[in-house]
Point group: C2
Chain length 364, copies 2
């Protein structure tokens, strides 16, 4: 590209406020439209994109809205990015992440990246300026991992990590995409007293298996894995990540709570890792008084959680799963390196996604 | 009513599952439609309704959608309740609460209520079976406090409190409506170390003034009250509830964060009590690394909060404000009894509402 060295006009902001076109004054994540021009402000980094990893809730919505045909999926994503200057699904509000190679780092960038570094972004696509130049020609619309050519912009306060050399790229990307879940789970479990019972709703998925592994390493007395169907239960049992594996529909609050209680619950810590709406009530009911629910699913409804807990007089602490916890990338990658059970689940998932097969509820 | 003593068929559930008509299997709060028939299951209580107190976010949406004319407001609320068997705003998902007099208590009700008790419900209208019989004829549509005749049903696990004899009914109702805010704020502040800085966004409103008072009693080192306009700043200063009062638009993240920092922040605990969308980013930016944000506004977006914190690499704990904390009703009422500053703000608000005047951003 011919733009190297050309910087934007005026002072930039480490939060990327100078890239917000509309509405004025909001943060890039809340903006409707960003300015994705390739010229850099002094503290920015431009990345040649190789692959987008769409958020599971967003991918599901796109597939359901379009019917899933490749041309329709490509057109839909292309239109969103062309209109908004970022890949933020207008329905779900969520984005995903990307991998690529650093093209240029501004002289004042604090990220420590150099041209040629192969990286993954750890901030959401929902706030990352993005231009697609290949019409997503290499994407068949059947996987949330989207081959893509174009460029993306990182701000001074963005987070990115150099991809590890010892793990395959798609595997590392899948792990980094959900790295916040094991990190926050680890923190909450280690702060709970006396070997708490931890229930992971969707423990057979990506964020769920990492959360289960993190819970055990952080001192959980018992890890209960909840999955929606028998095949997945067998896989989770074989992985050894959970002490008890139970089958329940997370959208059925009474069934979910009964399943967790039957497996040694209620839980002191419940981790919600399924990407379908309607799991708030069951998660609250499955949790002991004084316990904590961590919601990682982007399909979580704030109102449903707040009013649902009040509605059943449940004294539970409810956390919005923050995708950023210091050290989260290393923790998640190390769990995959150390625990063959997690790695096995991830490799199977990544392989399924590459083949375009999408499992059900538990996927995230 | 002639239905006293007639009980529903089949076993009931303390969660009210037997009242869910559609969709099957969900909790009453998540249901589209409840069965509000007056006949009681053995553990239920029927209340003769006197007044609904609509949730602020719901009232705002109804007013904006209808234009606010009395007939349109009455028709809209009436239609929702007739269709759904409960007053749950389909757009905001939120409800409110009600006051009334106990008509009948089932023989197995654990709530300790007797016919004639004047009570307020502390569970949301969004899960409370309700029938309106007077067409809301006494409501001018200008206040969220809605005179109403009809009946409502409490389940075995619902929460209700007998209205205090020493406080006017509308005042007590307004206090109980937001009782979760001071209780959770008190808990979080008392668990923080060393006299934390607490920022209350919307400290001039009802939940905000209670949260500010609770924060100080729980050991806050400094209470920063944020309000949107000068008149309210003067009122809040006069109340003595905050050590610093600053003016900022909570939807402008950079301005909000700068205002809090300029007043002695960033905050270790930030409490969001404004009922407009778009306050997530500013609340996160106003909070110190390692700090906590408590979201009480029903206008909070789960996705915006989760991705917004990740997007600025903010290591903050984000809590979904649970409307239920044990002892919350007593704590909130006692704060109003003890602290003239809180009582003054509530009396002014209740008076404004009764007159149909609605203040701006800070109202909740």
């Amino acid at each position: 590209m011919a733009v190297g060295g050309v910087t934007g006009s005026g002072p930039g902001s480490p939060l990327g406020l100078h890239r917000v076109l509309a509405p004025a004054g909001v943060l890039p994540q809340a903006a409707w439209q960003l300015d994705p021009r390739p010229a850099l402000w002094p503290d920015e980094v431009r990345v040649a994109v190789e692959r987008l990893n769409l958020d599971a809730a967003s991918f599901r919505q796109l597939r359901e809205a379009t019917g899933g045909a490749a041309a329709d999926m490509r057109a839909q994503v292309g239109q969103i990015v062309a209109e908004r200057g970022k890949m933020q699904n207008p329905v779900t509000g969520s984005g995903g992440m990307l991998t690529g190679v650093v093209e240029e780092a501004g002289p004042e960038s604090p990220l420590g990246l150099a041209p040629g570094d192969r990286i993954a972004t750890l901030v959401s696509l929902s706030l990352t300026p993005l231009v697609i130049t290949d019409g997503l020609a290499g994407w068949d619309g059947r996987s949330e991992q989207v081959p893509c050519r174009g460029h993306a912009i990182l701000f001074g306060r963005s987070i990115a990590t150099v991809l590890p050399a010892d793990l395959p790229g798609p595997l590392a990307l899948a792990v980094l995409d959900v790295a916040g879940a094991p990190a926050l789970t680890s923190r909450v479990v280690s702060q709970a007293r006396g070997g708490p019972v931890v229930a992971v709703i969707g423990a057979g998925g990506k964020s769920g298996s990492l959360a289960a592994a993190a819970a055990r390493e952080a001192g959980a007395g018992r890890v209960i894995g909840v999955v929606p169907a028998g095949a997945e239960a067998a896989t989770l049992r074989a992985s050894g990540l959970a002490d008890e594996v139970v089958i329940a529909d997370a959208r059925d609050p009474v069934a979910l709570a009964a399943a967790v209680r039957g497996a040694g619950g209620p839980a002191a810590v419940t981790v919600v890792c399924v990407d379908v709406p309607g799991c708030e009530g069951g998660a609250v009911l499955a949790t002991a008084d004084g316990g904590t629910v961590i919601f990682f699913s982007m399909a979580t409804s704030f109102t449903a959680a707040a009013l649902g807990a009040e509605g059943v007089a449940a004294d539970v602490t409810m956390l919005i799963g923050n995708g950023y916890v210091p050290g989260h990338a290393r923790l998640a990658l190390d769990l995959v390196r150390r625990q063959p059970g997690v790695r096995g689940i991830f490799e199977a998932r990544v392989s399924e996604e590459t083949r375009g097969h999408r499992p059900g509820l538990e996927e995230k």
